[in-house]
Symmetry: C2
Amino acid sequence: MDNFTFYAPTYFAFGKDAENETGKLVKRFGGSKVLIHFGGGSVIRSGLMDRVKASLDAESISYVELGGVMPNPRSGLVYEGIELCKKENVDFVLAVGGGSTIDSAKAIAAGAVYDGDFWDYYEGKPVEKALPVGTILTIAAAGSEGSPDSVITKEEGMFKRGASGEAYRPKFSILNPALTQTLPPYQTACGVTDIMAHLYERYQTNTKDVEVTDRMIEALLLTMIHEAPRVMEDPNNYEARANIMWAGMMAHNNSCGVGRTQDWASHDIEHELSAMYDCAHGAGLAVVMPAVFTYNMKHDVMRYAKVAERVWGCKMDEACPENTAKAGIEAFRNFLCSIGMPKNFEELGAKEEDIEHMAHSACYGNGNTGYVGGFVPLGQKDVEAIYRLML
Amino acid sequence: MDNFTFYAPTYFAFGKDAENETGKLVKRFGGSKVLIHFGGGSVIRSGLMDRVKASLDAESISYVELGGVMPNPRSGLVYEGIELCKKENVDFVLAVGGGSTIDSAKAIAAGAVYDGDFWDYYEGKPVEKALPVGTILTIAAAGSEGSPDSVITKEEGMFKRGASGEAYRPKFSILNPALTQTLPPYQTACGVTDIMAHLYERYQTNTKDVEVTDRMIEALLLTMIHEAPRVMEDPNNYEARANIMWAGMMAHNNSCGVGRTQDWASHDIEHELSAMYDCAHGAGLAVVMPAVFTYNMKHDVMRYAKVAERVWGCKMDEACPENTAKAGIEAFRNFLCSIGMPKNFEELGAKEEDIEHMAHSACYGNGNTGYVGGFVPLGQKDVEAIYRLML
């Protein structure tokens, strides 16, 4: 196991009606003037926003609002939020929504206390200072509610880039599974896929002897396999939503990823797809992951065979573990199809002629210096070949 | 899943030489005058104390020292530590040792900023204020390095009682698996047993539909089953020690215990044994747990059958799952024996004639009002019967 540090000081309030604690939690973590950041009107129509405001009012906390966050959140709105925070002397950013809203809120929080361009952080500058952020999660997917990460798309050029830093860990996150019950099935499935991707990215490691984190990752994958069909069958299944929601946080707060190299090639390769076609991140990952795993399989057949056996219940083929590894990838692909995820470029709306451009952008953008992936370093030609596996 | 809150803001520095960060971490978390609290001379003889002091010196942090913590740490030394902290204006308590030392340090930290008797906290008063605590862990076992808990034995009457509160979460914990390599095999095995007990206590729940935490608990149990024999075979196996150390923290920071009722009958029943005979907590648990599980099995046969199948690899007997449940308990008992743990009163040095007294103390002490256990409420007669299963 590699040396590591782990620090995840986010306060979680989990369960029914947890959003009624918003005001008390903002106060506890030092907020007195809040920016409420959100996406579309669904949080208003559902009545959630009224409850949040009532909770803030009860603690005499004032607020301004900024809606309009889109999936694959854009830099334009971030700049707007930063201006608003500075003008209104906001001291706390409250995200009400899914990963996109939270990521946008984090970017605003950093930019509001930085004299330069917030995009610097998305070009590699470590995030060391930001306004405190709280979240009220409405989609189990990105794990941003417990992570130090944020991904933003710059509108000029549609570059999708990530930033990370301790200051990006939310001070609190409110996780009420009931708030996710109104999500359309497709978005629910995209969330499930994203959570499983966060687990697979960590599973693909070159660090030996990391049984504890292997087992934790497998545990969370098994949970998703058990719970996702239940929630697809009955979107109002609170219990299944609850299991998925906690698994989604645990999958990405990195307690199961410490002390080991991780991959993240699938994310880098997917980011190009969602930046180019504005497809859902989870849907893109569903197409990308089986292709990446298939391409990388020979690098460590036993690792893919192990997850196939332990998670997908494939019988270990001792004579040819490659068969087990392949069966596991196929089982994962079938699972993703079964919850309504696309399986190729066509279903995703992606185009073969963009492959070269996307492969180049993946390998040379976001601070990458010619390759992606921590498991197998993949150069532009490799990434092109992987995209072709998705045709 | 039940509603819950989860807040675990401990900073972990994990790996080789991590203790050299001590000074920087004390400074980061606001310490300028430290009480170094420790047990016997092993931390001095090993050179660890010199490295810790050098690290504090490098940051110009002054310190006083208090050694002498015993297993099942006593109130007498806690009072001494509190006096010392008040006299020397200590503002940070640093525990260098295992769970006993950390628990003692937490009690000192609470008492140092409280006008009353620190024992009030161990009679049920919530711990809301304490000096900040940091830890340098030398035994993977108690999980106190990441938990809000502390257990102290009051010398008058030898009552062993627990206290809990947010202020008891360490600000930082330094986890260097190499520091545990010098532990004698028996103590290592006691630590393994304690970690597994923290998992089983959480597994025994009446809350339905908690797959995510079930799976996480099973993952950590599987890790222990894999790693413990490796470390018993070769005490210098750093990798096995590292896996156990992270599993030990995860087993008790409660991320795998949230949103569900838990049991803790085994701990309450064991505490009487170690208070009475001063046996190692882990050794006591090894004797207690199979008896408790056997006694409670019929309350929820499928829960014990599930852990038997998923963790111990027992084949599910669909016609009679009780057979599977029994096989799982037997497998656990055999595993504990295989790492050198005792299996009955005699091997533990306990006496039949004390059963009635211990059962009464378990059920009526520590704020208990006639029973122990959150899974099956066990009254004095039940606890007596359970002790008799250990004869």
